[in-house]
């Protein structure tokens, strides 16, 4: 097998991976970035909102208020040391981006424009704050392209259209790089590295209806799981109540804000039953659960009664065009209907993965050691949506995900740079370290008749939507876990027809499904185990938050399959802890 050597291997070329790569390349480290698609087609490009930073350009603000909002938003499951670190580092992260060429929108004064977002307050829960910096409605795109250009200039080495197969580690548990496959040629490549950073993003593709790009299959999370690393807090998945049914694209809350409302299959305005006062403007989780309940109880719309309708036509074409132009374009393009005339089929859509690979605030992957405290895993880091630092806890605030990737991409790189000073040479790679990767590659060369990958994937995502979506109780989740375990067994017997080498995308899709299966098991198992409602994890059989028992992080281990727990880091770096309070807005 061909071999290449680098100081640091980064898997994933979204904002987190590229921010880390840039910091390393500028420090003269030899850094390689592996990406299964061309880097500027990473999912960061879809982030429209912006980056939170207490710049106080519009209204008074400071990082401590931002920290309070983030802790409260996390429903007190976020680690307060990491949150303090992130909020303090935010202004610098934004100024650095400006320096890299991100064209932030401006105020008349020339300062960076900031907009108001939900969940942001002044003075620890007071009036609305104005904290989100944006480059029009394409902040993610601007960040990704600027970072990519800077990396090209800094001579980061890119392996474009390479798919990471498996991580490498030695007997002592030290991570040594990865085996990747050149998608164009089908050839495997051994990438040896003193440090490896996982930056593969979230896993929205677990659910049939989701807002994520197809690439978001949790590849890094699954590789970590198979390498013996647990996944943390996977039960926390952010859903939006209104996605286009069967497709997933988000329809902003603005549609209901303008007077749109939901109808079931009987033509009933059902939100009046679930939230007599707020009705269609009730909080996201209430609306999401109400839609899922209507469908479960047979009051859905359509041939399969599997969605409800969002009615906007009573608003008139004028209002729909003026106030909701983006929705009108999108619905016309995809559904060939005009929302000004015809209601839109909608269903809750999966959006953001709060959980992931457990790390400390330096991006080092950490695992519990026997009964004791956790320790860093030598040579392995994770940043961004694939990681769980944990700054988002049980629920992420808008504007904090881009901030997360920038701050912790940089922090991880700085830690790696210090580490590289001690780690001057590559450690030998034992022959058996390659075995898991080789087996995984060989497995899909198997001939014969088996179930199709597309069919199994459809069953998995439907199972996750029905059994681990917004409607959760013991029975539904237990059925879901059993179903995922059964599907995972069936995948072992599946085969693909195409055994060619060149651009064999069938093989990539098969390996992506293996990754989804492992992460699905982590997600449904963690949700089954957590018998409380907190943030995005809402159990109808345990509707209250239970700090006595559950103010702790979940850890799911794959082999052997078991749950483990660790305390939330309630102690910030320099300020007083924010103790848990009831979360009301």
């Amino acid at each position: 097998m061909e071999k290449r050597s680098f100081d640091t291997l980064i898997i994933g070329a979204g904002g987190g991976g590229l921010r880390a790569a840039l910091q390393l390349a500028q420090a003269e480290a030899r850094v390689a970035v592996v990406s299964k698609v061309f880097p500027t087609r990473s999912h960061t490009v879809a982030a429209q909102g912006g980056v939170n930073a207490a710049l106080a350009n519009v209204l008074p603000d400071n990082w401590h208020w931002h920290m309070f909002d983030t802790v409260k938003g996390s429903d007190y499951l976020g680690d307060q040391d990491a949150i303090e670190y992130m909020c303090r580092a935010a202004p610098r992260a934004v100024y650095e981006l400006e320096h890299f060429g991100v064209p932030f929108s401006r105020l008349d004064t020339g300062k960076i424009y900031q907009r108001a977002f939900g969940g942001q307050s002044r003075d620890f829960g007071g009036d609305q704050a104005v904290r989100t910096c944006a480059a029009a409605d394409r902040t993610g795109h601007a960040i990704l392209h600027s970072l990519y250009q800077q990396n090209i200039r800094a001579r980061t080495h890119f392996f474009d259209e390479y798919f990471a197969i498996e991580l490498l580690q030695n007997q002592a548990g030290y991570f040594l790089g990865a085996v990747a496959m050149n998608i164009a040629s089908g050839e495997p490549l051994l990438i040896e590295a003193k440090t490896t950073i996982l930056a593969t993003g979230g896993v929205g593709q677990l659910f049939r209806t989701n807002t994520n790009a197809l690439v978001n299959t949790g590849d890094g999370m699954a590789m970590a799981l198979r390498a013996g690393i647990p996944l943390q807090d996977m039960e926390f998945f952010q859903f939006h109540p209104t996605g286009v049914a069967g497709k997933g694209m988000l329809i902003t809350e603005g549609a209901r804000g303008e007077g749109g409302y939901l109808l079931n299959g009987d033509g009933e305005r059902f939100m009046e039953r679930y939230a007599p006062n707020a009705k269609d403007l009730a909080s996201r989780d209430v609306v999401s659960r109400a839609i899922a309940t209507e469908v479960r109880e047979g009051r859905g719309v359509g041939a399969n009664r599997d969605h409800v309708l969002l009615k906007l036509d009573h608003l008139g074409a004028d209002i729909v065009s003026k106030r909701l132009p983006g929705i009108r374009d999108m619905v016309r393009t995809f559904l060939h209907i005009d929302p000004a005339d015809t209601p839109i089929p909608v269903y809750p859509t999966a959006h953001y993965t709060m959980g992931g690979i457990p790390t400390d605030r330096h991006g080092q992957v950490v695992v519990p050691v026997q009964q004791g405290a956790e320790e860093p895993v030598p040579g392995l880091y994770a940043v961004g949506e694939c990681a769980c630092v944990s700054v988002h806890g049980a629920n992420r605030l808008g504007g904090n995900s881009l901030l997360d990737i920038l701050v912790f991409g940089r922090a991880a790189a700085n830690h790696v740079i210090e580490h590289l000073k001690q780690q001057r040479y590559h450690q030998p790679i034992p022959a058996d370290a390659l075995e898991p990767a080789l087996q995984r590659l060989a497995r899909w060369n198997r001939q014969g008749k088996g179930e199709s990958i597309a069919g199994l994937r459809a069953q998995l995502t439907k199972t996750m939507e029905d059994h681990c979506g917004v409607f959760r109780n013991e029975e539904v989740l237990q059925e879901g876990q059993n179903a995922v375990l059964a599907l995972r067994e069936r995948l072992r017997e599946a085969t693909i027809d195409d055994h060619s080498q060149v651009f064999n995308t069938a093989r990539i899709e098969a390996m992506e499904l293996e990754n989804l299966m492992d992460v699905a098991l982590a997600t449904v198992s963690s949700a089954l185990a957590r018998r409380e409602s907190r943030g995005a994890h809402s159990r109808i059989d345990y509707p209250e938050r239970d700090d006595q028992q559950w103010l702790r992080h979940s850890l799911f281990n794959l082999d052997p399959m078991k749950m483990d727990y660790k305390p939330v880091r309630m102690q910030p770096l320099t300020v007083d802890s924010f103790p848990p309070k009831k979360r009301t807005y």
Binding site: N210, N212, A213, V215, K247, M330, T333, F334, L335, N504
Partner: protein, 80 residues
């Protein structure tokens, strides 16, 4: 070289909207294109995601005639 597979992988984008529109087109309309149009489609895929999104959602009309034709075909192939 497996040309169709290469193009299909190039249709993996950073946004769900583009994945759906381009994926559907490669599955249905692409095989009807002549070699010159296929080369044009390949070139279309070199544009950034944000530009493709504006064109394919019909928000902005591309200036090049060849691109306009392709964009119309892709939009027509978007099955409800």
């Amino acid at each position: 070289m497996n040309e169709l597979a290469r193009v299909r992988w190039k249709c993996r984008r950073g946004m769900l909207e583009l994945d759906l529109l381009l994926g559907q087109f490669v599955g249905h309309g692409y095989h009807q294109l002549d070699p010159a149009q296929r080369a044009e489609f390949d070139r279309l895929l070199d544009y950034p995601d944000t530009v493709l999104l504006e064109w394919l959602l019909g928000r902005i009309r591309p200036t090049e005639r060849e691109i306009v034709r392709l964009v119309d075909k892709i939009r027509a192939a978007a099955a409800p």
